[in-house]
């Protein structure tokens, strides 16, 4: 903390993330602007591994990204047991907005938000980076200007030379694409887009599109909305679920949700399109 107190003041706790606490603070020299400081403790057992790989990845990725819809990393201060990442400060996460139904009365705002998310994701992918953990908690919103910024690149990966498999430790289940729920380790850009689709659905419904607890419950929910996949609708699905398509339960029909909002059809279209393209990504040529 001392290292940080040299140049920052007025600390105010604003949240506790999965990996550390976040404080809001001002710079001593310039008290007009607020900054968010993420304090990442490096526990003793992790020190055995040198600088944690999560931090190396997050910082190295953020250093390269320069986009209005991606949170800006301003400074990295390291001590032996702690790491301080100084970000620009945004007051809310998208999660907070989603809890307040009044916020999404207007479709215009919804579209604005989605557009910002999608352009950020397109930018990330064009830089050959996968976010792998897109969810409303990781999307920050500036309340006054309605600018959205994607944060938390702790699970991000670069894929200029694709790796055969990525580790299973990815994102929360609610925003995970079905093939990952099946246990596939082939992460691709399509999976980030799936997460965006889920976030969009959540904006419309004011509740998570899929909220299943376990992987199988989650899959069940996906299929009850989109119908159980078959080899025709999703080539290769049999091999994904271990050759046992019956394990997916009795086939469900695709629901046409007319009684939802009009724009639900848009997601329907998106998700449908996604499902068909999800596993078409091929790395090995």
């Amino acid at each position: 903390m001392q290292a940080l107190a040299l140049s920052y003041t007025d600390f105010e706790a604003i949240g506790t993330g999965r990996y550390g606490r976040v404080f809001k603070c001002r710079q001593i020299s310039d008290t007009d602007n607020f900054y968010a400081v993420k304090i990442i403790p490096i526990p003793k057992e992790e020190q055995e591994n040198g600088v944690p790989c999560k931090i190396i990845r997050e910082v190295s990725v953020l250093k390269e990204l320069n986009h209005i819809n991606i949170v800006r990393l301003l400074e990295v201060i390291s001590t032996d047991s702690n790491l301080f990442l100084v970000f620009e400060c945004l007051d809310n996460t998208l999660q907070v907005f989603l809890k307040n139904p009044v916020m999404f009365m207007y479709h215009k705002m919804m579209k604005e938000f989605l557009h910002q998310i999608l352009s950020a994701v397109a930018y990330i992918h064009s830089c050959k980076i996968l976010h792998m953990n897109l969810k409303p908690d990781n999307i920050l919103v500036h309340f006054r200007t309605r600018v959205l910024k994607i944060a938390d690149f702790g699970l991000a990966r670069t894929f200029e030379v694709p790796l055969d498999s990525y580790s299973q430790d990815i994102g929360s289940a609610s925003y995970r694409a079905p093939e990952l729920l099946f246990g596939s380790t082939n992460y691709s850009t399509a999976n980030d887009v799936w997460s965006v689709g889920c976030i969009f659905g959540e904006m419309i419904l004011h509740r998570p599109l899929f909220s299943g607890g376990s992987d199988w419950e989650q899959l069940d929910e996906i299929f009850s909305l989109l119908g159980t996949p078959t080899e025709e609708t999703w080539p290769g699905v049999t091999s994904l679920c271990g050759g046992n398509i019956d394990a997916l339960g009795p086939p469900k029909q695709r629901k046409v949700s007319i009684n939802c909002f009009a724009c639900v059809q848009i997601i329907e279209f998106q998700l449908k399109k996604l499902l068909s393209t999800l596993i078409s990504e091929e790395y090995e040529r």
Partner: protein
Amino acid sequence: MDFDTEFPMPTFREREAITSYYEIEHLYMATPNFYIPASHLQYRRHAVSTIARIRTFGYLENRRETDSFVQQPLWHGEVLDAYIPYLAMTYFDRFASASSILDMPGASVTQKVRLVSICCLSLSAKMRTKQFILHRFMKEKRLNFTVERIMSVEYRILTALDWRLRTITPFYFLDHYYPTFKRIGGFKRRCINEIIVQSQGEHFFTQYKPSEIALCAFLAATYLAYPSKFDSINKSGELAGCYRELVNLCLTRKIELRGESGKVLPSTKMEATSTAQPSSTKTAATPTTQPNEAASAAAETQTTKSEEELAEAIVSQVNQQSSNSSSRTTQLWKTVLDIEEEEEEGTSQLTRRPRTGASKQQGQDQGKADTSGEISTEGKEDMGKGVPEASRSEVIIAGIVTKVQGQDKDKDKEVVAMEESWEEENAEAKRLRKMKGKAVMMEEEDDETGKVRFISEIVPAAQAAPRNLMNFELQWPITVQPGEVLDYLDESLQIDESRRVSIRCPQTIRGTGNDPPLNASCCNCTIS
């Protein structure tokens, strides 16, 4: 650019990204003149050998203990991912030129360089995989640095690199060049990857920008695999030195080139047979490319024809191919292996190249710099002529060969002497219990086969692992020339200017900002 399912038109954003890579790529390499002083080169050689050795010994150790142990990868979960050492060397290059290695903790310069290269390796491993566990890795490799020390050095490297570990590498540009080269037959991604990774073991290539290396890897592959098409490529003369060296590299390291279909391309096979002739020096390997080209030129027209037909057939049978290819690959791999076994002799002599080449150090570096210089200055005018140029460079090379052969006998003696001194160094290190693990392993190997055979020995291990894009054995020079212990190099930091070896290609204008603007929408290398 035609529509192509494999390489769709790049989106606006992708083109934008590529353009930005061209603008910033020079930030991700060693500073222009850094590798001119001999001492800096020596740092790099040591770093390369440290990393190569860490990798190689891991496998040798495992192979040997397969009877009693379950075969373990380099560290838990790691396959033969050659990109990790590649990245590590890019970090090393940048770190070494950004801040002084001599400031690092460590008893001797050798120790410092080793420490830095190990930290670079751990950083790159962490960037690439999640399964990397430092202390386990250290234990497996018997590296006895404290974790605290590793961590503090990691921080220093990170700070020096401004935490920018996502490096722009040649791989970012490959997608950009593939469609162009697909039209002349195409290559498997894996072999292009291999060329690039193997080139990182040689300091010569540090002077070229990532995009140049990417292009030259394709040019070199074309030169070897589709010689008849090579002249139809409009290429800039500046890169002549680069792709010539890459061609040499492909030949000496026996990188097999495969077409889109996964078929081993003809010239690689020819190369395999041609290297069976005793050729003990690096320069001697070069002329083999010339007859290769000449002899195969006639045959090539047929083979490329069949290659084209094959390519067509493949488009229609992609699915079938993909299922067949695995079995096919293994078969081919076996045949290649057979050839390699037969040529054990030739291989060992060839693989000796980096060392013997290096042992001559100043002298040969000078010669090498001269040839590359000459070739590259001639590059532009010769591009049009094609054939005369080949014969001319042959003359140059022939000149060198005679020189080199004259020195051959002396050199062999030198090598022996140096090996001895290397062993002495090892013994000393062992006594000091500093590089305990390595010294022990080193000696074991010395007794049995000699270091030179490492590369050929490892092949079966690679065969066992699944073959994929980055899955091949690293063939970086494992030995730094012995006798040149880094610790005594400090005095040589003041180099006699007249003896200074310029490894730079005179015409490259790297990192100067004078580079011609590259239009990202099309490849700057066109086929007429």
